[in-house]
Chain length 217, copies 2
């Protein structure tokens, strides 16, 4: 009898690695590569090969045992992790950062589409040159519901970030990428937030470097 696949819970760090791996595979595929080994993936992701093998084994879709066919592996990951479900995103805050992020620069996978931008400054709505549709904040709920958008990006200044986050959640957004330099507190376990907290990154590096030097002694 087959194992109850649906009950296997994948460790969160494994989900993060596999999600990243997916984008990596997209890039490699575009470069013309078709096959890859666990050791190679490991190097690129900065983890040992057995970690990669284990991560992939959580998906319970055993391959042939001799390297991975990139296109197949991509599909297995996307299928299992549900990447095909939520492809639309919106962005709030059409300032300079918002602009940079949504300019197709390789920043986001070609699987996703940021289809709507919001800002409460009418000037910005006019001056911004982009493929997306731009709207004033008042249209937030209407657009998100109409397009069934589940992912939101926050690139507004500090003082409005929290309000925007809660507005997005009220409109049905389930995942947020927050670039504002403010941590956003949410009380619901059905909404996920990824904070891109650049100021913190300096400290993290500083700490790791110091820890390394301390332990070296």
């Amino acid at each position: 009898m087959k194992k109850d696949v649906d009950k296997v819970i994948i460790p969160k760090p494994a989900i993060v690695r596999l999600s990243t791996l997916y984008v990596l595979l997209e890039n490699l595929e575009q470069e013309g590569k078709t096959k890859i080994f666990s050791a190679e993936i490991g190097k690129l992701l900065g983890v040992p090969s057995h970690t990669i093998r284990k991560d992939i084994s959580f998906l319970r879709q055993a391959g042939t045992g001799n390297g991975y066919e990139i296109s197949i592996l991509k599909n297995i990951i996307a299928e299992y992790l549900g990447f095909n479900k939520y492809k639309k995103a919106c962005i709030v805050g059409m300032g300079r950062l918002g602009n940079v992020i949504t300019t197709k620069n390789g920043f986001y996978s070609n699987q996703y589409a940021v289809i709507a931008g919001f800002d409460n400054n009418p000037e910005k709505l006019k001056s911004t040159r982009t493929d997306m549709d731009l709207y004033p904040m008042a249209k937030l709920k209407e657009v998100i519901e109409r397009e069934n958008i589940k992912i939101g990006i926050i690139t507004v200044p500090q003082d409005s970030a929290r309000k925007v986050a809660h507005d997005l959640i009220d409109c049905g957004i389930k995942g947020i990428i927050n670039f504002s330099p403010v941590l956003i507190e949410i009380n619901r376990d059905d909404v996920f937030i990824r904070n891109i907290f650049i100021a913190g990154e300096f400290n993290i590096l500083s700490a790791f470097i110091s820890q390394y030097e301390k332990n070296k002694l």
Copy 2:
């Protein structure tokens, strides 16, 4: 007899949380707040209060037992994690993203200073308006060594990211924040890299949302 404090190894996730917490405390302090409780911190960081208490307890600098004095907690964290050691950073790639990041926007803590910018396009060196000193790539080693910079930010396009990373490491950089949409593979355990991999963030959110819905059933 006192415990051998120096031998206590802090879990990596705790280091990351404490590093983030530090920036948070800086912000709260600027807003005029002087005291904070573990439950409050927990909400802001999105983790339970006992995790925060445990994280802080790794520092072995017990407080009074009734909330934390923000200024004191800040000092304890900075001291223990060595934040005071490496305050200078440089950035390679003065394109639009590089500009946005280095514009004092609250993106980086006021503790750090991005003091030098590099680009191999002479036009960019002239046209960019900034407080930093700007240099051509040829000056990389000279400047990094002269200023004893240990942290580098990469905001160059995809195709040069890997080379830039290795150049930085050759110049003595020990910590890298990589914004390019390429994962950088390094083989040294004395160099730390933080990939801000936006394309991956979409997948991660997508996966968490799907996982949540799957487990809900």
